[in-house]
Amino acid sequence: MDLSAINPVLLVASIMISATPILLAAIGEMVVEKSGVLNLGVEGMMITGAVIGFIVAINTGAPLLGFATAAIAGAVLSLAFGVLTQIFLSNQVATGLGLTLVGLGLSSLLGKPYEGQKTVTLPKLDIPILSDLPVVGRMLFSHDIMVYLSLGIVVAVWAFLKHTRAGLILRAVGESHESAHALGYKVIRVRMLAIMFGGACAGLGGAYLSLVRVPQWTEGMTAGAGWIALAIVVFASWRAGRVLVGAYLFGGITVLQLNLQAAGLTWGVQYLSMSPYLITILVLVFISSNRSRSSHDAPANLGQTFHATR
């Protein structure tokens, strides 16, 4: 094994790339959960975003248009979840699982003709001065626009939840839908908007996988990324800043194991490939073992159905 083959500058740069899809999906899901809704369909929305983004980008030659359509597709799919759970009052866990199954089926149906094709990917931005800095320039300032957009979304979500009135209402709906309803806030409407935001973010994350990270369409290509995003929300104890840390840590693990494989680590490639999932479990155990803390952090009405009786 030759560890010197791993270039630290490229390593950090590729961590940012591999963390972006999960970061986007996780920050969206965090907003959904803050409003008191547990949407387990992240995987389904991500993969639908991945396939729609890919199809649009390959047919129009415009990757950004692909991203936009992927966000819309994710939002539309999440709207189905919203209608079922908020209006038809179905069980959120079951509906989320259903959304994942629908998304996986839909994506492989749509993506079949596009398997193995190549698409145009996003160009790396060339930021004056910053990109030319030694080491740091290539590490942090030579990425495509989506990497910076994802960071921007994290900051925006943080500011929205912490410093705006609308953010306060969203949190109130998640903590106690009965009280929020009594105060005259539209619980269902707030939750629907949050669900659609989450869907759009998951769609963007999926499109980043198929348009930048891989960049190809293969069936089932998200390979659990949506579920890992859900785990990261728990890991982050529903805080935007920690979602960022969690996603980048996870991206780091993924890239590191890929690099170790490439550097010629011969024993058990499969054991390296399963490491991200095992580490996710370990992190979940670590977070939840501190029980007094984690139970306070979760929105109090998370996953509960709201039915206005008055």
């Binding site: 387990l40 189905a80 209608v83 079922l84 038809f88 009052l89 179905s90 069980n91 866990v93 079951a94 509906t95 699982l97 259903g98 959304l99 199954l101 629908v102 998304g103 996986l104 089926g105 839909l106 994506s107 492989s108 149906l109 079949k112 069936e219 390979a223 659990g224 579920w227 890992i228 859900l230 785990a231 728990v234 058990g268 499969q270 054991y271 490939s273 399963m274 999932y277 095992l278 996710t280 479990i281 979940l284 155990v285 939840s288 073992s289 029980r291 984690s294 139970s295 039915h307 009786t309």
Partner: protein
Amino acid sequence: MIRLEKRPQPSKAWTVATPILAVILTMIFGGIMFGLIGTSPVEAIRTIFWDPLFHPQFSGFSRPQLLVKAGPLILIAIGLSIGFRAGIWNIGAEGQYIMGAICGAGAGLALYPMESALILPLMVVAGALGGWAWAMIPALLKVKFGTNEILVSLMLVYVAENILASVSSGLLRNPEGMGFPGSRNLSQWSSSQNLELIPNTGMHLGVLAAFIAVILAYVLLTRHIQGYNIRLTGEAPRAAKFSGVSPARTVLFCLGLAGVLAGMAGLFEVTGPAGQISIDFGSGYGFTAIIVAFLGRLHPVGILLAGLLMALTYIGGELAQLMLGVPGASIQLFQGMLLFFLLGVDVLTNYRVRFGAAEVA
């Protein structure tokens, strides 16, 4: 103005009617979907739901397949449904199914080429234990640390798939297989083969086990205190706690049972229809079983019927691929739609739809 009014008790009539309504809705919207991808809707629906059973040419082959596919689905769904009733969301049955198959096949292959009538029973036990052990990981973590069982059981599916890839090209690889990945063929070794009990019916030991599981689950849920405790935990967790039901024991029981049944399903599959451990052994039964459990209203008899129906869509889907050139993934979407419609119309079971303005109390 349309309002929903919560029923004091779930409606019995709608409990039975909603799955049927959901199937009809799925046929309508599925037909539209097939129309959109350029297949005649009527023909597609007929090929999926009617031809596997009654087509003069194909039904002879596809009818036995019904039980072959329904067996593992029912067996896994029964285990899942008991957990779902208690509010324990094990969605990693696919991993438990794979690990059951690996452990059972491993136990058998360790004794190859010995011949004994005891080998298959030993393999069944090893398979059940393998699935059980894999399900105990989320169960123990939940009991000990309060870790979310949904995420852990699902992460373990990916781990199990990697283990499957590893053993089928390593530990369990057929030494006479000329370097190809995949284990020895267990369905051709007389000590491990799980043959049809009645020729040309598809009825193998796994299907028999599924039928027994249906009966035992029915007895458990309606006649046994443990079943009552499980239902109580799901419907009123606080009441269950006050009446002395230990939440930890319920978690261990429900996940353990689901693991045992999924592990057995994997073992019966690997010794029968699949024949060997190979990289593509995991076929998604563990996920489809979630749909089966809900479609069957988490009731053993309902699951039996739902399992048969879902098996029909599998076989019909293959037939439609063959005859109409419908993409295989459309069947997956079709099954997902079925779950969606079921969850949607379920509102009628628990709520009454009222028209007109709200009355003043």
